[in-house]
């Protein structure tokens, strides 16, 4: 097999979730990565620097002076119609919020990976899911949404990186891969995607006619901008964004079910927690309890309709998160009081055990 054949093939490797993000980014034709080190995701930039993609695909990789700078570099690159990304962990993502809001206002597509750690504050480098609110409810100012993908395996770290770019460009929005420290750090087998060439400038002009590549005499200037001083202009932009968000909600919901068909009780969990809960469901089934698991893969758009439909068929739901309970709000909104919805979670970087989850299911839902 020659090099170019190898190039076009998927490749099976054993690696960390963070490394999978880096390899997937290079392979899917990412043009630029800009980042600032923070545990537990520094391997993303470290892997990129080791791979030196500027010598192969021509991808730019740059260590910025702060997350403020890296998100604004992403804005600059995205404004040129380039596939740009950054990654960080919770405190760094907090620092990026102004930039994220600007990206939304300027309708720029980009990818952000957040490998969440425990907070508030400097917190802990241990895993967490406590940035759910920040990610799906806002975080930055103004009415905007980010497509949010929640990987539960190293494979999904790679797949979601690729998918995030596709969705970001489909809707001109930020797509965030919202992982937790466990997924970032653990090693698993992963099938890496085949190499896709980076877009040429001509392709960019076709795909993103708004990109600032320099103004030919034949067109008006392209201006990347979120400023709308007139209230009516500001509302018009907001209405356009909201229209796009409704489209996303209608078209892009992803979730996975595990023994839900005949279930009387369903656990809702994402990321690492979903893996723990799957084990808890297996244990419950072994005891004769008809339990199931619904794992949202997209946190925004949220599988509201699916959860609402489930509420007509089952007796109760338990939401499990590595937080004080954030996604549970969206589950409750979907259920709208028809059946009991309770929450179980651990904080501070503690991953709940399957035993704890099963116990919570019994005490909070089944024998409430």
């Amino acid at each position: 097999m020659n090099d170019s054949e190898k190039h076009n093939m998927e490749e099976v490797r054993l690696m960390k979730g963070n490394e999978a993000v880096a390899h997937a980014a290079i392979r899917c034709g990412c043009d630029g990565y800009f980042g600032y080190p923070i545990t537990p995701q520094s391997e993303i930039m470290e892997t990129l620097m080791e791979q030196e993609p500027w010598n192969t695909t021509g991808m730019v990789v740059l260590q910025a002076e702060s997350e403020t700078s890296s998100i604004n570099m992403v804005y600059g690159a995205a404004g040129c119609g380039k596939k740009a990304m950054t990654s960080s962990s919770s405190p760094g993502i907090s620092l990026m919020q102004e930039g994220i809001s600007y990206l939304a206002g300027a309708e720029l597509p980009c990818v952000i990976v957040n490998v969440m750690r425990g907070g508030p504050g400097l917190g802990t480098i241990q895993p967490s899911q406590a940035d759910y609110y920040q990610t799906v409810k806002g975080g930055g100012h103004g009415d905007y949404k980010m497509i949010t993908l929640a990987p539960a395996s190293v494979q999904e770290m790679a797949d979601h990186t690729v998918l995030a770019f596709d969705l970001a460009f489909k809707y001109r929005v930020t797509a965030m891969v919202l992982a937790d420290g466990v997924i970032g750090q653990m090693m698993e087998k992963v099938v890496l995607p085949p190499f896709k060439p980076r877009w040429t400038e001509n392709e960019i002009r076709q795909i993103s006619p708004w990109a600032t590549l320099g103004k030919p005499a034949t067109r008006e200037p392209n201006i990347i901008n979120s400023l709308r001083l007139e209230a009516s202009d500001m509302e018009e932009l907001n209405l356009r964004l909201q229209g796009r968000y409704r489209e996303i909600e209608n078209n892009e919901v992803l979730f996975e079910e595990f023994s839900v068909k005949d279930a009387e009780y369903v656990i809702v969990a994402f990321g690492t927690t979903a893996r723990v809960c799957q084990k808890a469901v297996e244990m419950a089934r072994a005891e004769g309890i008809k339990a199931g698991l619904l794992r949202p893969i997209t946190l925004y758009p949220f599988p509201t309709v699916e959860i609402s439909n489930l509420a007509n068929k089952i007796k109760g739901m338990l939401t499990v998160e590595m937080s004080a309970g954030q996604m549970v709000d969206d589950v409750r909104l979907a259920v709208n009081g028809r059946i009991p919805v309770e929450f179980f979670g651990r904080m501070g970087g503690i991953v709940p055990s399957p035993d704890e989850v099963l116990h919570a299911l019994k005490t909070k839902i089944i024998h409430r």
Partner: protein
């Protein structure tokens, strides 16, 4: 002689550059911003770079720079223009990339982005409008506000114990190995405008020759913020700003 005899190409001594749009400017009469815009537009036309230039506009009075120059623009968050320019130039290395920033934008909220872009030697030109005040937000104190100078947040004049020293960021940038050309100019006289234009042209050429970061500070007036007539503002600048921010090249490699 009829009007048409006068409007004759042979009689043309001056024409507005086509890179400048035919729209009224929002700048106060007498403000330096408009003059600097015009010379940038002229240089872009003279260098034949209209199709290859990406400007990065700040947050400040020049936030609308994109309305006035007929080129592609990105409007940055307050202070972040050098970060945007870094990415644009790295991804489009054969383009002319410049930032246009005020003193609050460049030397307060964006200090880190400015210093690090310059220290990395990004092949960009930074045009820095130092008017010693926050024009856009109504005349608050800037990092470059002089000692004793009044602003809405230093109503009795800037004092060092309360506000610290005025920041000569251009001098600081000249110390960095990544800068190739650092100069301080003004646009208060015809002669000064000509010199400032040469300086900006050199900065743009450096960007295209990948020589590193060029910084052109324009010591400017904000007559509205300073609460002076345009003429008085020019005089005040010569008397007070120039001693603190002396004109001339700080570095030219």
């Amino acid at each position: 002689m009829t009007t048409n005899d006068i409007i004759n190409p042979a009689n043309l001594v001056y024409a507005k550059t086509k890179v400048m749009n035919d729209v009224p400017m929002h700048y106060c009469p007498g403000c330096s911003h408009g003059v600097v815009h015009k010379i940038i537009a002229e240089i872009i036309e003279e260098m034949d770079m209209q199709e290859k230039t990406i400007g990065i506009a700040p947050v400040g009075c020049a936030v609308f720079a994109y309305k006035y120059l007929d080129i592609d623009w990105q409007q940055a968050a307050h202070g972040r223009a050098p970060a945007l320019a870094t990415a644009v130039k790295r991804l489009l290395p054969d383009r002319l990339v410049f930032t246009y920033q005020g003193d609050g934008d460049l030397a307060a909220i964006g200090t880190a982005e400015t210093i690090h872009a310059a220290n990395r030697g990004e092949n960009i030109a930074i045009i820095f409008i130092n008017n010693g005040i926050y024009g856009m937000t109504g005349g608050q104190m800037a990092p470059t506000t002089l000692e004793g100078m009044k602003s809405s947040t230093s109503p009795n004049g800037r004092t060092v114990p309360l506000n610290g020293h005025p920041l000569d960021i251009t001098k600081l940038l000249a110390q960095l190995k990544g800068t190739c050309y650092v100069t301080r100019q003004s646009v208060h006289t015809i002669a000064a405008v000509r010199k400032a234009k040469k300086a900006i042209q050199k900065a743009f050429e450096n960007s295209m020759d990948n020589k590193g970061t060029s910084v052109v500070e324009i010591v400017s007036t904000c007559n509205a913020g300073w609460k002076m007539t345009p003429e008085a503002a020019n005089d005040w600048m010569v008397e007070n700003m120039f001693p603190a921010y002396p004109l001339g090249d700080l570095k030219d490699l």
